[in-house]
């Protein structure tokens, strides 16, 4: 793991272009150029937005579904498996399926048309919608993971705590606020950090669904921009600087989130 990271960091200080040797040392030029690179900054903004959407949707949705499925019976067992299926599928497979649903004359718009909508949205072709569509697909695939973690958390809460709270006169909302939510703190930590990392490294869905478009950089993410810069533009040194910046960002966000959430675990 350390070797490729070390090599990437090394490349980030060069102008390496495998099709235009020789490679020269450029110091911090690549990293400083990132600060004024519109494409990089757009990709950074997109990545942050995707990460926020994915983290919120997977956690809120995952918790809601987990609470609905926190019951005994074959139906609930089956539903748990159903929600987990997207997690084990390849992101490319999931994206291809969603593409068939979301293209302008795809399944979703055909249904909306039958319901009377004359000009249904261009989920993937409208630049103002495409980023949210991609975020939804990433969140949909990650939802099952959060459901399982929250279910494990819910099933680990002693029933006596709920009973004691009920005897003390707590209604369902109060029990959720004062018993369930605090006891789920470790699950929240795991799901939040994993969702953050998942959002920051979004690539496959972007590549299949939009290829960074429609239009220049509309749905481009940091990972997508790194690949494009390295393998289409041949600017491996500059792409390595992007990868290093991405690495630092993900590491920093993960550590900060982990620290804050663990502090909450202790206090609760």
């Amino acid at each position: 793991m350390l070797v490729p990271i070390g090599i990437t960091i090394g490349y980030s200080f060069t102008n390496k272009n495998p099709f235009n040797p020789p490679t020269k040392w450029v110091g911090l030029d690549n990293l400083t150029s990132l600060a004024s690179d519109d494409e990089f900054l757009t990709a950074l903004g997109n990545t942050v937005l995707i990460t926020v959407i994915v983290t919120v949707v997977t956690n809120a949705g995952g918790l809601a579904i987990a609470m609905l499925l926190d019951r005994r019976g074959w139906l609930y067992n089956a539903l748990r498996s159903v929600f987990f299926v997207p997690v084990v599928l390849s992101a490319v497979v999931v994206s291809v399926i969603w593409q068939a649903i979301l293209v302008d004359d795809g399944l979703l718009n055909s249904m909306l048309g039958k319901l009377g909508m004359s000009d249904p949205p261009g989920w993937l072709s409208d630049p103002s919608l495409a980023l949210y569509t991609v975020s939804w697909v990433i969140a949909w695939q990650g939802l099952g993971f959060c459901v399982v973690i929250y279910l494990a958390g819910l099933q680990g809460i002693p029933q006596e705590l709920h009973e004691a709270a009920a005897i003390d006169g707590c209604g369902p909302m109060m029990r959720f606020r004062h018993v369930t939510w605090p006891m789920l703190a470790p699950a929240v930590t795991i799901n939040t950090v994993m969702s953050l990392i998942g959002g920051f490294k979004a690539y496959d869905q972007v590549q299949v669904l939009t290829n960074g478009g429609p239009g220049p950089g509309t749905t481009s993410t940091l990972a997508f921009q790194v690949i494009q810069t390295a393998f289409n533009g041949n600017h491996v040194g500059y792409a390595s600087a992007m990868a290093v910046a991405m690495l630092a960002l993900v590491a920093a966000v993960s550590v900060i989130a982990l620290g804050l959430l663990q502090k909450r675990e202790v206090s609760s």
Binding site: N20, V103, D104, S125, N211, P214, A243, V250, E265
Partner: protein
């Protein structure tokens, strides 16, 4: 609950590093021993060129060159050049490749040069040179035509294809008035390259017809994408969209679905590479398909075409001589050429070759139009598909396709598109 914050932070950081770490580099070698050699061969699959086509062609070439075992690699998308770069960066550069854009690879010494003797059978042996050297067998030509639905034209009262750009606009208006979508254009996701065809046509008629070496002039800094000629070409595309002649639904469709949309009658005209002719003949739509070249303002000929598309061989192949021998056997085998013509509608540029008699009417009409344009000196470069000296810098074709998507979606004006292209050119060549 037992917790170890330090351990957890470390694990999270390690996870982040694993999940985001990436690199490039190192080289590798293929096997060659005892007079036998295993060569990797990079192909790409499309609706026309499926796995069966490639396997049969590989088998025929291998039968002619004993001692060669081929390991087929398939590009995950039509962008085999981008995939070849990825393979190169991980030390897996293929030994033989077909349809690769040699730009960058050639200059970097990664490809073996073809000699005059090896190119003797080719009609235009020096179609794509890099500093005077040839790295790709120029075995075929392809052009961009407008394929049209004859039934839709008849329904709109159009009895002949347009000969001038004004006639094209008039016909589009007539089609729209009859409730027929004039143009099917599309390519979403990884197929955004397929959105380029209207611009390929307008750049041919409005820029390359008057200035054939326009891209070379752009390299020399003598012209810019913001110059009136190029902006006018982009404006034509923007106008077609603004008038509702190009269906924006195509921006989310795959290339295969776009072709199917034309087959399904979801539009009357389909600007597309000549490879569609084979598909139109092999799986005939419910209507007759006609062919015309995108018209110029005055009605003269300006057909965007590109010659090349053949085999390239890695200069680091385990046995370059044998790899070249196999590549030529693949290219020049008559059955392979016939299969390529039937599957991909190629215009073969190998001396003495004639297409099978049983080729369909759309292919024959396309070949006839291409040969006629050649005779009248009416074939010009195909914007973003050029190879050889005077082609776009690496990566710019993808950027152009992204810009065209925004042009088609109405999010960018023609002037902004020109400025965007200049900015991308500067970035690509910095």
């Amino acid at each position: 609950m037992t917790r170890n914050p330090t351990l957890l932070r470390g694990a999270a950081l390690a996870g982040a590093l694993i999940l985001t770490g990436c690199t490039a580099g190192s080289t590798g070698e293929s096997a060659s021993s005892g007079g036998k050699v295993t060569l990797t061969f990079l192909t790409f699959e499309t609706p026309n060129l499926d796995a069966k086509y490639w396997d049969a062609a590989i088998a025929r070439a291998s039968a002619k060159v004993p001692g060669v075992t081929i390991k087929k690699l398939v590009s995950p998308s039509a962008d085999r050049t981008g995939y070849a770069k990825q393979l190169d960066s991980t030390g897996q550069f293929p030994d033989v490749m077909i349809g690769l854009n040699p730009a960058g690879f050639a200059e970097a010494g990664k490809l073996a040069e073809w000699s005059d003797n090896e190119l003797a059978k080719y009609v235009e042996p020096r179609a794509n040179t890099y500093d005077g050297k040839v790295y790709q067998l120029p075995y075929s030509a392809q052009a961009t035509f407008v394929y049209y639905n004859k039934s839709a034209f008849a329904k709109a009262g159009i009895d002949a294809p347009p000969r001038t750009y004004d006639e094209l606009l008039d016909d589009s208006a007539k089609l729209k008035a009859k409730g027929i979508n004039p143009f099917v254009v599309g390519g979403g996701g990884k197929d955004s390259w397929a959105d380029m065809f209207p611009l390929i046509c307008t750049v041919a008629t409005d820029v390359y017809k008057k200035t054939p070496d326009w891209l070379s002039q752009r390299s020399a800094g003598k012209v810019k994408f913001t110059d009136p000629a190029f902006v006018a070409a982009a404006q034509k595309v923007a106008d077609l969209t603004d008038k509702g002649y190009i269906d924006r639904a195509g921006l989310s469709r795959s290339y295969a679905d776009t072709e199917q949309a034309f087959r399904d009658g979801k539009g009357a005209m389909y600007p597309m590479g000549s490879w569609f002719s084979a598909s139109a003949d092999a799986k005939k739509p419910s209507f007759d398909t006609g062919v015309f070249a995108w018209p110029t303002d005055q009605g003269s000929s300006a057909l965007p075409g590109v010659t090349g598309g053949g085999m390239t061989v890695s200069s680091k192949a385990p046995d370059v001589k044998l790899a070249k021998k196999w590549a030529k056997a693949f290219m020049e085998d008559e059955k392979n050429l016939n299969a390529a013509v039937k599957a991909d509608g190629l215009f073969i540029d190998i001396k003495g070759y004639t297409p099978p008699d049983n080729m369909g009417p759309v292919y024959k009409e396309s070949v006839s139009a291409f040969r006629q344009a050649q005779k009248s000196d009416g074939v010009v470069n195909s914007f973003s598909q050029e190879t050889g000296d005077g082609s776009l810098p690496p990566g710019l074709a993808d950027k152009a396709a992204a810009g065209v998507q925004k042009l088609l979606s109405g999010g960018m004006t023609a002037a902004q598109f020109g400025a965007y292209m200049d900015s991308q050119w500067d970035k690509a060549t910095r």
